[in-house]
């Protein structure tokens, strides 16, 4: 293999390293030792069993949302409203947990169904605004995100206020029967992992092996020609959004029922936007999605420990993931850079 071939093969590592370098420079600027920070991050993610389980518990709703986004991205939709879909799922699950009495397994099933319905409904609203109202899904979704978050704040400070008075932080903890069974006192619930595996497998099969997946791909590649080929764009747009919203809603249920034990102010913790970054970084390589989501989960959980240890703002984790996605988007494709002249490389 010649030099050019080697460069082309090693190229994908370059943007990743550049992103690490960028973050290192930031750390040095703020007087922190990069080595110590890295160590604090790794210890924050894998330091003991409960921390590792936290990484997994954070990864599950993140990957549920990313899995849903795989469907909408394939259909060429920018489902930025996913954040709101997670929040609505969390709210619906909380409603069931606060208001119904039933044996645990029935209650949990109802919570998950309610959450999927609410997430789907919120996504469906964005979809109908798009197909019927011609409001782009970015704007419809974004407005609905904010409305969902404001709705949470309203519930927490109003009707669902804990009896001892509103603290603006959250509702009272749910009854024990309503919570997902958790492993070894951690935030990780094995049941949510099972749901995740089912959902992910379904999406892989749907996108790779079904006619529906093919229709979505046609839609994503070229809306007009897909329409001419007889793909009902409105139906598929709404279906893809409902599907994604339902998975995001399930993610929201996992957040309230195992990560927390009540409805909190920032219930999503930015998982929806993070999931968008995951899917962008993976760019249609489905099997990379779980790995990238796991890496992001490590970085974000680690940066919380980093903040405790070094007093540096925990947004550092967000910066690292953001810069990485930006650099990969910009420079990931060596052919498009045209640094080797206009010649197309032979692959």
């Amino acid at each position: 293999m010649n030099l050019r071939g080697w460069i082309a093969r090693a190229w994908p590592a370059v943007p990743i390293l550049a992103a690490l370098l960028f973050t290192t420079i930031l750390l040095v600027m703020f007087g922190a030792s990069p080595i110590e920070s890295l160590e604090a991050m790794i210890r924050g993610a894998f330091g003991d069993q409960s921390k590792t389980l936290s990484v997994i518990a954070f990864w599950i709703p993140l990957l549920l949302s990313s899995t849903g986004l795989l469907v909408t991205f394939t259909a060429g939709l920018w489902n930025i409203g996913i954040e709101g879909q997670i929040v609505m799922g969390a709210i619906a699950a909380s409603w069931v947990a606060l208001n119904l009495e039933a044996p645990s397994f029935i209650l949990i099933a109802l919570e998950i169904i309610a959450a999927m319905a609410a997430g789907g409904l919120w996504a469906g609203l964005t979809a109908v605004l798009k197909t019927r109202g011609r409001v782009h899904e970015i704007f419809g979704g974004l407005a609905l995100n904010n409305i969902a978050i404001i709705f949470t704040n309203y519930l927490i400070s109003g009707p669902w206020q804990p009896p001892e008075g509103g603290t603006f932080r959250g509702t009272q903890p749910f009854q024990a029967a309503a919570l997902l069974p958790r492993y070894a006192n951690s935030r990780f619930s094995p049941l949510s992992l099972v749901l995740l595996v089912i959902a992910f497998a379904m999406v892989v099969v749907a996108l790779r092996g079904t006619f529906w997946g093919l229709k979505l791909k046609a839609l994503g590649k070229n809306l007009r020609s897909a329409f001419l080929l007889g793909v009902s764009s409105e139906r598929e747009v709404i279906l893809a959004m409902l599907f994604c919203g339902a998975l995001a809603g399930m993610g929201g249920a996992v957040r309230v029922l195992s990560w927390f034990d009540s409805l909190r102010q920032s219930i999503s913790g930015g998982i929806g936007f993070l999931a968008l970054l995951v899917v962008m970084l993976a760019s249609y390589r489905i099997l990379w999605v779980p790995l990238i989501a796991f890496f992001f989960s490590v970085v974000l959980n680690g940066s919380i420990t980093l903040q405790l240890r070094t007093q540096l703002h925990s947004s550092l984790g967000g910066i690292l993931t953001g810069v990485m996605v930006l650099f990969v988007l910009l420079f990931g494709d060596a052919n498009k850079l045209r640094i080797f002249g206009k010649k197309k490389s032979h692959e």
Binding site: G140, H313, S315, L326, D333
Partner: protein, 312 residues
């Protein structure tokens, strides 16, 4: 009310210029945050608001340059890059500005215009403001004049509508797009720091969060015209006053609920200008006013908006 609307007017004007040339800079929310933080810190350190404005403009221009470079030279999705920059600007501003939150900094003082501020009703609202507000009026008017009444403005619009035709006429499409993306981005940056200096003094994490998205929606509502955009910005600025009023009128409703007004309004105005529904209503109106009403309510984007132009 006008003060609330001022930074929105600047951001909307900037983004209108950028989008008229065919580029969508979706990074507004993040670049406004970054510019608000940078401008505030520079203003604080140098004790000069003008250097603060300059720094903010540079940050906004840099974000716009990344979007333009990514889409023109690297042929990547403008939406993807813009969205990542939005998130990144939010996190970066929180990190870099962490030692400067909630401290007093430079402020621009109010300065009434002698004669005009005496006009009843209109005077106190429009002419008893600070210098940035007056400059913003001027900016909106000049931008409108530039886009619709000058040769160079025609070129910008040509590049945004029919880049092939502009190219055939000898216009350097890529150059025009870079230039106006950067100018628009600089204005967006200034709008961010106007929050820190005039409207919501100082800096705190997520200081201007949400306003970038509202500005992007107003650009659409304003039909890519600076004057309509400015009116849209005033409409959104007025929602804050409306919320305060409603709160007093309905004290039993939670304060939190009124925060939703701008977002509900955002969906409503976008539905109004782009859905078929308004078209159906217009048909029932007297024939003579159909055309003006349609022109008032319905807008279309520049035809080559978000589409890259080039040899492949």
């Amino acid at each position: 009310m006008i003060l609330q609307a001022t930074p929105l007017m600047i951001a909307v004007t900037g983004e209108t210029i950028t989008e008229r040339s065919g580029i969508v800079n979706l990074s507004l929310d993040g670049s406004m945050l970054m510019a608000a933080m940078t401008g505030f810190v520079v203003g604080l350190k140098t004790d000069s608001v003008w250097l603060g404005f300059l720094a903010a403009a540079a940050v906004g221009a840099l974000f716009a340059l990344i979007v333009a470079f990514g889409s023109i030279r690297l042929r990547q999705s403008q939406v993807a890059i813009g969205f990542v920059l939005t998130l990144l600007g939010d996190d970066l501003s929180a990190f870099l500005g962490q030692n400067y939150t909630r401290i007093p900094g430079p402020v621009i003082k109010r300065m009434g215009i002698p004669v005009l501020e005496e006009i009843p009703f209109v005077g106190p609202i429009f002419f008893d403001q600070d210098i940035t507000v007056y400059l913003t009026y001027l900016l909106v008017a000049l931008t409108w004049f530039f886009l619709f009444k000058t040769q160079a403005g025609l070129k910008v619009r040509a590049v945004g509508e029919r880049p092939e035709a502009a190219f055939a006429r000898g216009v350097n499409v890529d150059y025009v797009r870079y230039l106006y993306a950067i100018i628009g981005g600089a204005l967006v940056g200034i709008s961010g720091v106007v929050y820190s200096f005039n409207v919501k003094l100082g800096w705190s994490e997520g200081h201007t969060r949400g306003f970038g998205w509202i500005a992007l929606a107003i650009v659409i509502f304003g039909g890519w015209s600076p004057i309509r955009g400015a009116l849209g910005a005033i409409l959104f600025g007025a929602t804050k006053a409306l919320a305060t009023y409603l709160q007093r009128a309905f004290p039993q409703v939670s304060v939190v609920a009124f925060n939703a007004i701008p977002w509900v309004l955002m969906i409503a105005v976008l539905l109004m200008v782009s859905s078929n529904f308004t078209e159906r209503l217009v048909i029932y109106m007297p024939r003579r006013i159909q055309r003006p009403i349609r022109r008032l309510l319905r807008v279309g984007p520049p035809m080559a908006l978000g589409i890259s132009f080039g040899d492949d």
